[in-house]
């Protein structure tokens, strides 16, 4: 069988790639996609913990499904904001949306 | 039992006896047998398309008072082979500015998305690719690859008509997925299982009898999901050339074409499994081959209705298409699901079960007719009176 550590390391690596994407990219859509990667890394961990440490308590899967719901909500609101931003400012580069920054 | 009793098992045993002397490790044996069955199911799906295209052309011809293909072979049976030869020998063009990789993956993904559904289809009591306990959801999930393939094809072609077709396709497919998914939940609820094999096994009474409205709404939304006339806005020839596959030629176009025909037949198969008892019929338990025949016969019902709608109805306008879905089908399907759930809970295992279900369906049907009537009357009142004007003015 696959050791638990493999899943955890894979999830950590995926999380860090998503983290880099959120911090480094300028395009708001790509930032949202990177957030999805991070949420998926969390889900891998949740399901792996459920399977390896406590397979007879269904809570791990329940958490994963709540994460799905949150991810769907996040994408809906995020993309709506991106579209609204593009309509008003003709850009979706997060560097140029600095009106509130001082 | 010999070959005629259960041919698949017979062939399977024979194949196993062939590889037995090689003394392969069990992993390889499982791998080989799985691979063989995957190839068998996929080839069955792809081969049946050849026949289906002929059926569709012949039936559509009858609707239009024509003869249909009748030159190649007896009754034109070989017409599809002639078409295939034509498609294969055509030049395979790729637009200069297309995104080559995405452009080439899209048709493959389109065929795969349909073939994947066949993995969970129970053909006969013992014949099925796999029996996963979330079969119904799996069908909905692999359907999303089809949407993805259309989007990929439309975008990578670098053609405005292809992109327009892809946009329309996604708007339509995502919308109609909602009532289809809700209606998939009705057989799940009645059978209290999401596995396809279980759903067939629990249909002592066909679900179309206890949930006729659900069956109708499922069929309508599934036909829209395939994108056939009257819902063929994604490839409306008279408006946007050929939609998302404008730039495709040769066998790549052939793959989209085959995927569409296979998909509409798959809708018929799903309709037969979910609402018409699948392989069930007299003697099917003893002779699996008979079950397969029953399933295929029942599947032609949905397929025939699709051809019928295609040759009868004109294409609907895009705003009507979306309004029909969101303002009619979605509320209706939610009402059906709730009423079915309540009645199933109240009357299950009583003698009043079927009458109660039918009365519930009838009430929903009449209520929806009443609602449509009220809306239409209000619209008619709001419409401005038609101003009379002369056709031509006298000079």
């Amino acid at each position: 069988m696959i050791p638990l550590s493999w899943y955890l390391i894979l999830a950590a690596a995926l999380f860090c790639i998503g983290f880099y994407g959120v911090l480094a990219r300028r395009n708001a859509v790509v930032i949202l996609m990177s957030v999805e990667l991070m949420l998926n890394a969390v889900n891998i961990n949740l399901v792996a913990f459920w399977r390896y440490l406590n397979p007879n308590d269904i809570s791990g899967q329940v958490f994963a499904i709540i994460v799905f719901a949150v991810a769907a909500a996040e994408v809906a609101v995020g993309l709506a904001l991106v579209i609204s931003l593009y309509r008003n400012r003709k850009t979706i580069s997060v560097d140029e949306v600095d009106l509130m920054k001082w | 039992m010999g070959f005629l009793g259960d041919p698949i098992k017979f062939i399977g045993d024979w194949l196993k006896s062939l590889i037995a002397p090689l003394n392969l490790p069990p992993v390889w044996e499982t791998f080989l047998s799985t691979l063989t069955s995957v190839i068998a199911v996929a080839s069955f799906g792809l081969l049946i398309v050849i026949f289906l295209i002929w059926v569709e052309r012949k039936v559509a011809a009858r609707f239009q008072d024509r003869l249909g293909p009748n030159r190649a072979g007896k009754y034109g049976l070989l017409q599809t082979f002639a078409d295939m030869v034509k498609l294969i020998t055509k030049e395979d063009t790729t637009p200069e500015t297309a995104d080559k990789v995405v452009f080439n993956i899209a048709p493959v993904l389109s065929v795969v998305s349909v073939l994947l559904i066949w993995a969970v289809v129970p053909f006969a009591p013992t014949w099925f690719g796999t029996d996963i306990n979330v079969g119904v959801l799996y069908i909905a999930a692999v359907g999303s690859f089809g949407i993805l393939s259309i989007l990929m094809a439309g975008w990578s072609s670098n053609n405005k008509y292809a992109l327009l077709g892809a946009f329309r396709a996604v708007a339509q497919l995502i919308s109609y997925e909602v009532p289809m998914l809700i209606m998939l939940m009705v057989p799940v609820l009645l059978a209290s299982s999401m596995g396809m094999v279980d759903i067939v096994a629990r249909q002592d009474m066909w679900f179309i009898v206890v949930a006729p409205l659900a069956a109708v709404v499922f069929l309508i939304s599934a036909i829209a999901e395939v994108g056939r006339t009257p819902f063929d806005l994604l490839e409306a020839e008279s408006e946007i050339v050929a939609g998302f596959h404008t730039e495709y030629s040769g066998m790549k176009f052939g793959m989209f074409f085959a995927a569409e025909f296979l998909h509409i037949f798959t809708v018929g198969v799903l309709f037969a499994i979910l609402f018409m008892g699948g392989w069930r019929g007299p003697g099917a338990e003893q002779f699996p081959l008979l079950g397969m025949v029953y399933l295929m016969a029942k599947s032609t019902v949905g397929y025939f209705i699709a051809i019928w709608m295609r040759s009868t109805l004109p294409r609907i306008r895009i705003d009507h298409m979306l309004a029909f879905n969101w303002k009619f089908l979605v509320p209706l399907s939610l009402a059906i699901l709730i009423v079915t759930a309540i009645l199933h809970k109240l009357f299950a295992a009583t003698t009043l079960y079927i009458p109660a279900m039918l009365v519930g369906n009838l009430v929903i049907f009449l209520a929806s007719l009443g609602a449509l009537r009220a809306v239409a009357q209000r619209q008619r009142k709001q419409r401005k009176p038609f101003k009379k004007r002369p056709v031509a003015k006298a000079a």
Partner: protein, 172 residues
């Protein structure tokens, strides 16, 4: 090395490759398609973890809805050339360093945790895990309240999304 392990290594490699391609491509549609590959890989991992229901939901929600919405958003915002030419901001180097540092730290911290060494999982006792999951969501002593809260959150998010993306008339 067993077959499952080889499958895991292949899928894991695909996920990481796809994720890296996603954050590093300048063509946004390619980014979104790589995201689909990564998400599909995660679904395969769920199958390996014997969570078939989650795998199917992963494909349905992420590939069927989220990835397609992403591609849609990319196409609707095509006029923005600026963010295509300079794909990373001026802190990209720092971001890479921090990402690598985070990965390093996570692995170190996880390595000190005793359960990290777990190699083989216990067998699942339940005959029908999907039924258990459904019961957990609707039974009063299960997760009914979180389930309802998640539903309300989704509804609120969708209404908010429609409001935010709805075109407004000038001067409103």
């Amino acid at each position: 090395m067993s077959t499952v392990q080889i499958v895991f290594l292949f899928v894991g490699f695909m996920i990481l490759l796809a994720a890296w391609m996603m954050v590093s491509r300048s063509n946004l549609v390619h980014s979104a398609l790589w995201l689909v590959v990564a998400l599909f890989g995660v679904a395969v991992l769920f199958v390996l973890l014997e969570a078939g229901y989650l795998a199917v939901i992963q494909v349905l929600v992420y590939i069927g809805a989220i990835a397609i919405l992403m591609i849609f958003a990319v196409m609707l915002t095509r006029g923005d050339v600026e963010s295509l030419t300079h794909i990373t901001n001026r802190y990209a180097g720092w971001a890479a360093v921090m990402g690598a540092f985070l990965l390093f730290g996570l692995v170190i911290v996880l390595g000190q945790w005793p359960a990290f060494q777990t190699t083989s999982p216990e067998a699942i006792e339940s005959a029908n895990p999907v039924l258990d999951l459904g019961m957990a969501f609707v039974s009063p002593d299960g997760f009914t309240v979180p389930f309802i809260v998640a539903s309300v959150l989704l509804l609120a998010a969708f209404i908010g999304a429609i409001y935010a993306a709805f075109p407004r008339k000038k001067g409103e």
